[in-house]
Symmetry: C2
Subunit: 369 residues, 2 copies
Amino acid sequence: MQTELSRKLGIEHAVFGFTPFPAVAAAISRAGGFGVLGAVRYTAPDDLKRDLDWLDAHAGGRPYGLDVVMPAKKVEGVSEADVEAMIPEAHRRFVEETLARYGVPGLAEGEASGWRITGWMEQVARTQLDVAFEYPIRLLANALGSPPADVVRRAHDRDVLVAALAGSARHARKHQEAGIDLVVAQGYEAGGHTGEIATMVLTPEVVEAVDPLPVLAAGGIGSGPQVAAALSLGAQGVWLGSIWLTTTEADLHSPALTRKLLAAESGDTVRSRALTGKPARQLRTEWTDAWDDPAGPGTLPMPLQGLLVAEAVSRIHKHEAEPLLGTPVGQIVGRMTCERSVQAVLDDLTRGFERAVDRINRIAGRSGQ
Amino acid sequence: MQTELSRKLGIEHAVFGFTPFPAVAAAISRAGGFGVLGAVRYTAPDDLKRDLDWLDAHAGGRPYGLDVVMPAKKVEGVSEADVEAMIPEAHRRFVEETLARYGVPGLAEGEASGWRITGWMEQVARTQLDVAFEYPIRLLANALGSPPADVVRRAHDRDVLVAALAGSARHARKHQEAGIDLVVAQGYEAGGHTGEIATMVLTPEVVEAVDPLPVLAAGGIGSGPQVAAALSLGAQGVWLGSIWLTTTEADLHSPALTRKLLAAESGDTVRSRALTGKPARQLRTEWTDAWDDPAGPGTLPMPLQGLLVAEAVSRIHKHEAEPLLGTPVGQIVGRMTCERSVQAVLDDLTRGFERAVDRINRIAGRSGQ
């Protein structure tokens, strides 16, 4: 499965895997794909350094990348405390009441909240970049908005390709103007932040909008036929995030969450503002229901919502409060029915791709193929 | 573009076109696809008879089908007047106030409302069937729910294939149990009634759920690459509705509406209950905004909403009240940028399909193809 982009990066399959787990990223790269480590959860530079050390040592000499969240809009002189102060008391009460209703205990003294919003703030993302540029990353992806011009320059000076996620052709063109090298077209059915245009419609629109920039299709892709479909739409590769969550290399720190993911069907996700304040697809839980309930206080805008719920989400995960327990995940969750190794997922994708190509050739009457 | 299903039906391309216009249905069948006439707007059997006469005479001897709306749940002894009486006065006032705010005149004396809900009621659908079975239709599609058992039997006695639309694998299995012959998997991005699962995820799920029944993919398909993608996902054909609305053979009776469709982008649709009471994708207009506004009275359940707005929709169309003027249409509306003949659309689909197959073969390293 080779495209111009996969050849340029020297990878075997045009499969890009986004994951918060270094072990998964390394396994994807070793298996011939391209592992991309999500950096948003790293607040301390040393933690990122430790994991990049590990990733670099275990990627088998294959290329890998990093995904950061770097808002293009810079808010000078605003601290996390300033933002915290903007959260209404009623919303804090709603969080505590909801957790109390489900009997979710607090965190132990000194136990840090694992899910912090600070990675979303520019100063943190820039510290992450300082660390990342010390490693031979081949790709830097920005998950929200266009990356700032100086970051693009810095990446290009180091021969690092810059990618940005887009939910519409308009977003994609804005990214192109910012000088990036490839666009990840993220469809409605994807996990995490998404727009409303589905992958089937979005991919060719973005391909046409930013031509000749390469485009990766994201959203709804978890099998070989879906890879074939995405590449038929003009993508130069696929960008998969959800499918790795139930691989044996992933460490969700919660057997209950893994069980929920394996049991969930494609209709069990919701595009909700509960996690960050912007619409993000995730498992539908009683937690997302509470935030989406018109009788409740509703969600706050980004970044307030993320700050507001950070500790609560950590408590829910830590104590495995099942009815509330969720994670960002796309509609392909219905296809995640057993734990498999990353290599097994890649093998399934490439074999399924070949079979889909056989089938489409038969339909096209190219029987010699 | 040949599948087992297209061979069975004796058509050249596995492209099924749903349309309310006999001229479009005939042109699709003549061009080697399979035209399916939507029957919901026919309240008088003679009107349907007249249009089926025309279609049969102009389909060039090629096969065609009919799409009806036949609720499986039968409500005995309930007349349209009984249902009308259930509509709250506040909702009627909201309709009149909204139309008055935009200065939309009434219909002339004796001028019938063109958009009637009665086609949705079972007795009307059954009258339509009595008419339809006098013609050599090859396919009967049910747009909402599973068709009743006696209708399936009646169709099979006449060698007519029965199809039903499904928005989830569960729906599709229910249809299969009802004895139908093929499933139309209608993704989130489709025009008209849709669920929330996108075509990329829904198609393979339905294919696997009802195997060995053939599946047509619907939603987000309006170009050759999208056809290739849908067939890669395991579909035996594609079902297109929106793309025909701006063909030269279509007659929307409103140049303003055609202009709006040609100008609309993929993000200009909304999945709203404004039209029927069930979520249906359509052009987003100030009319859908009014119904979706939390400050308004909100929509009524099916069939009340359809009855409530029937005359208003006719007035909006008749007088081309531009800000309110809409129609069911899918996200591929962004691709409908010029008026073309049905033949030109089919040519574009089949040529684009061939190019997409070329490309996927190059990616798969099958260069001899």
